[in-house]
């Protein structure tokens, strides 16, 4: 069986950044497995700009952002296989992949980095009543058909969900001559960035209807229209508020789900809120030597943070394989769980190793609702060790706190770290 120090599953933004960072950290034998026919992942179809402000201090389009990381991988001569789908990963890091040239192959990895990304929630998951005609697309599928394949998916469009992909597609389709009639959002707030609401909807006079959803799909062969209704506080449609919109296309931008079939297959413990693996501050899952980063770990808003997170996974995976080659095994250390409470939905990582952690660990999380003038508090057991006032917190914006190793010196018997929102 062929052996590689680090096998990275996925050649999108997470996988590329992890690969570059792992090489920088000294790992020599790295292999990237990518299912598409090019590197870069979803960025290839995200032709709009707004990427890279944090990483490169300039605004890039998706393909430009991807190209910078692809260049790093090419310069470092890190090998990758395209058109290669991973069929299975085992807890002891055997990776089985399939491709045209080699057929079915199993290789042994010293460390595995999970960087498979996420997929869109389909219509079926929403149980929207009506027929099942052509013309209903998840926003990303429509984006691919337009931006990569060069096809028009429709002329009159309604968009359900105001996630960023939906907003971007509203502008994209308008620019290409389609009429986007309305964007309906189930929640009383948009999950998308303010800038996208202004520059993708307001600029083109596209109405955004908050607390509205599609309650009926019309048309048997191709979509002919949708009925939209207002919803109450329990997200139940309010009778009498129905409004019919004729359209031939319905785009769905109703959420992203990390793609963790392989992780589950390896028996890795998963987090119910993120739908990604539980990880410690090294982004290592509970399967030794298997790391996770990017949208497979939790869904991000900004690719810059994906790259940062993935670089950390790459460094740690490199450290793991380099250490494993020496006789001394990994340090055990005190592991403390991170708990998300009172308006904080989850944290990544979920576990902090007080002894082996870096000097500073970034903990990323999302809140459950829109909150104004709240504190983000950190507790070590029952002691509030920090608070930070935020004018506004929204589920669509990932938040973070940084925990310093030095701050734990006074807590030798720490049992739990809590991150929560508080009014005071």
């Amino acid at each position: 069986m062929t052996y590689h120090d680090i096998v990275i599953i996925g050649g999108g933004p997470a996988g590329l950044s992890a690969a570059a960072a792992a090489r920088k950290a000294g790992a020599q034998d790295i292999l990237i497995l990518e299912r598409d026919n090019v590197l870069g992942g979803i960025l290839n179809q995200c032709i709009h700009n707004g990427f890279g402000l944090h990483t490169f201090k300039e605004e890039l389009t998706g393909p430009e952002y991807a190209s910078r990381y692809i260049a790093m991988v090419e310069e470092e001569k890190i090998p990758y296989k395209l058109n290669t789908i991973v069929a299975d990963i085992s807890a002891d890091r055997k990776v089985t992949y399939i491709n045209r040239e080699e057929g079915l192959v199993t290789i042994q990895a010293g460390a595995v980095i999970l960087a498979m990304g996420c997929r869109e929630r389909p219509r079926g998951a929403l149980n929207i009543p009506g027929y099942r005609p052509a013309g209903i697309y998840s926003a990303g599928t429509a984006q691919r058909l337009m931006n990569i394949e060069g096809y028009r998916v429709g002329n009159e469009v309604v968009i359900l969900g105001s996630g960023d992909i939906g907003l971007i597609m509203a502008r994209r389709m308008t620019l290409e001559g389609a009429k986007v009639k309305v964007v309906a959002e189930l929640m009383p707030y948009s999950g998308g960035l303010k800038r996208n609401i202004v520059q993708c909807l307001d600029d083109y006079g596209i109405p955004l209807k908050l607390s509205h959803t599609v309650v009926q799909i019309h048309g048997k062969e191709r979509l002919t229209g949708v009925t939209i209704a207002e919803v109450d506080a329990n997200r139940t449609p309010i009778p009498g508020t129905e409004e019919y919109y004729s359209c031939d296309t319905l785009l769905l931008s109703v959420g992203l789900i990390p793609e963790n079939e392989l992780s589950r297959g390896a028996g890795i413990s998963m987090n119910r809120v993120t739908s990604g693996p539980n990880v410690d501050d090294r982004l290592e899952t509970d399967a030794e030597g298997i790391y996770a980063c990017g949208n497979v770990l939790h869904v991000h808003d900004l690719v810059d943070f994906v790259s940062q997170e993935a670089a950390l996974a790459g460094e740690n995976a490199a450290a793991y394989v380099l250490r494993a080659k020496e006789p001394a095994a990994a340090a055990q250390g005190r592991k403390v769980p991170l708990s998300a409470e009172n308006g904080v939905r989850y944290t990544v990582p979920q576990i902090l190793n007080l002894d082996t952690m870096q000097d500073a660990v970034t903990v990323r999380f999302r809140v459950a609702d829109v909150y104004k003038d709240r504190y983000i508090s950190v507790y070590y057991d029952d002691k509030r060790v920090s608070k930070k006032k935020k004018k506004v917190l929204a589920p669509g914006e990932m938040e973070q706190v940084v925990l310093k190793k030095s701050s734990f010196a006074e807590y030798p018997d720490l049992g739990k770290i809590t991150i929560c929102t508080e009014v005071e």
Binding site: H48, T61, E149, K194
Partner: protein, 120 residues
């Protein structure tokens, strides 16, 4: 005197801004920070946008090459720029950064490729 209502895009707060224009004098209210005022002034005086789209490629590994305006263009020119972009065809290979349209729609801004498309 003219007033316009805007939503600030500086941060998730999304402050509702009111801009009052009286000749040369511009007053912004509703902002929580100076960035809001700057944004509002720019938005009423000379709003600009980067336009991204794609251009048909013949003989390439993919059917279209993504493009952008090299810098931002006046917002009012978006559809004129789009019309030129849509009418254009490129031939593979196309290199990222390559100028595909010079001085698009008289804006003085070039349209450049944002990805490389190799020959099929």
């Amino acid at each position: 005197m003219e007033t316009r209502n805007l939503i600030c895009i500086g941060c998730p707060l999304g402050c509702p801004l009111t801009v009052t224009m009286d000749g040369e004098k511009i007053e912004v209210t509703g902002n929580t920070c100076p960035r809001g005022a700057d944004y509002a002034k720019k938005e009423v005086l000379s709003p600009t946008r980067i336009v991204t789209s794609s251009i048909r490629v013949t003989g390439g590994r993919i059917a279209r090459v993504s493009v952008k305006t090299k810098s931002d263009i006046p917002k009012a020119k978006i559809f004129e720029v789009m019309a030129e972009i849509r009418a254009r065809k490129a031939e593979a290979p196309v290199r990222m950064g390559q100028v595909l349209i010079e001085n698009c729609a008289g804006t003085g801004v070039d349209i450049i490729a944002t990805k490389t498309v190799e020959v099929a």
